[in-house]
């Protein structure tokens, strides 16, 4: 399950960055935004792809910093959604 999520996140992010393969812990903010709309497009992608709602409290940049961080965030949100 998690590998699947990771692959999806990696594929989505790779559209925005001129690198061949994003490594799990590559900091996408340090690599630089390609488009000013990137931040909310990323929020929208995560919500749409994984059926989550991202709100005010989730907006820690650390949740969005890398493929690995996003994967962990999605897993956390999905298990919280199941638990509640």
């Amino acid at each position: 399950m998690s590998m699947d999520n990771k692959a999806k996140i990696g594929e989505y992010l790779s559209r925005f960055f001129p690198v061949q393969d994003l490594k799990d812990d590559d900091d996408i903010f340090q690599l630089g935004f390609v488009s000013s709309m990137f931040a909310i497009q990323l929020v929208s992608f995560v919500e749409h792809e994984f059926g989550l709602t991202i709100d005010n409290d989730d907006l820690e940049l650390d949740n969005f910093r890398s493929v690995g961080a996003l994967d962990a965030f999605v897993t956390r949100k999905q298990s919280a959604a199941v638990a509640s």
């Binding site: 559209r15 925005f16 709309m37 909310i40 992608f45 749409h48 005010n56 907006l59």
Partner: protein, 394 residues
Amino acid sequence: MTSTLTAAQAQAQKEFRAFADRHIVPHADAYHRAQRTPPQIVELLAAEGLLGLPVAPQYGGGGCDAVTLGLLAGELGRACSSLRSLLTVHTMVAHAVARWGSRELKETWLPRLARGESIGALAVSEPGAGSDAAGVVTRLTPDGDSWLLDGHKTWTTYGESADVFLVLGRSPEGPTAVLVERATAGVRTELIEDLIGIRASMTADVHFEGCRIPAGQVLARPGLGLSHVVGTALDLGRYTVGWGCTGIVDACLEASVDYAGSRETFGTPIKDHQLVRQMISGMYTDARAARLLCLEAGRLRDEGDPGALAQTSMAKYFASTAATRAAADAVQIHGANGCSSAYPVQRYLGDSRVMEIIEGSSQIHQIGLAEYAFQERSLVRRRQAAATPRSEGR
């Protein structure tokens, strides 16, 4: 044209059209000349629930989908771009609060905004910062458990009459968005007159001098005011402006067809001259194309598709450029009358010029859309590379 609408959307459009024809179209030129929006028409829009249409029902709004909101913006845009601008900035503020506000902010503001009891306006631009909103210098200084706000915003649509402002400032953490009530001590507005377009829009300079803003009025968190809050608001603004521009094209088309059928030169109605027909054919096509792009943007927004951002940008870019083409041709078809205040087409001309400057100028969209084209292409290439067996690959 309504074939892609649901029955409920088509019905809503009919009602919006009838409302605009009855209450706005007959007065729009007078608003334009007076450079004021009478409070009564704003109250009527509020009473009809039109200012809270997209706000969630739990906060007293209409909970409408994006396509329905677009249809409303289109009908208002056909009637009066100033009032369409009111819908735009007001819904931008409500949308930003709904998306990134704390629970308290949502519970305090969304019901007021939904009822149109408080009108919202967006104060991002400054004398020194427009397209490059990251350049704002309005200061948010932490002071105990609140902030002090100091700065000068300009071009705030309905800034002269709005009750609450979504303000982009700069805090030590970076770009930060706060909600500021007009009633706050230190807020002062000044009407900007004699604009080329949306002349009834009560656009104003807004000054903030030592305004004390409670910490709870921050949207999202400090540092994310531009990338998330204003980004979200602008995305919706682009969407309703795009639709508003389809309304301008529709209005130009209607006026031009009527006029070309009645005015005669060289012994025939001017509609029989091929060069006049060329202009009308262009407008007719643009009206349809702009509407289809806006409908597609609305559909993607309703599906929560991340591609909605690019589609919205494309729809706004196309519709606003189509509106300036249509308005220029509508004035041409009306000849000297088109230059006068006896016909609405000169109003459309000024309004459409504004539409190519606000919510991302045409140049800003031209830069951004290319980026999406590159992204799409790179995705296709990656997928092809992944599907090609290594031995055959290069």
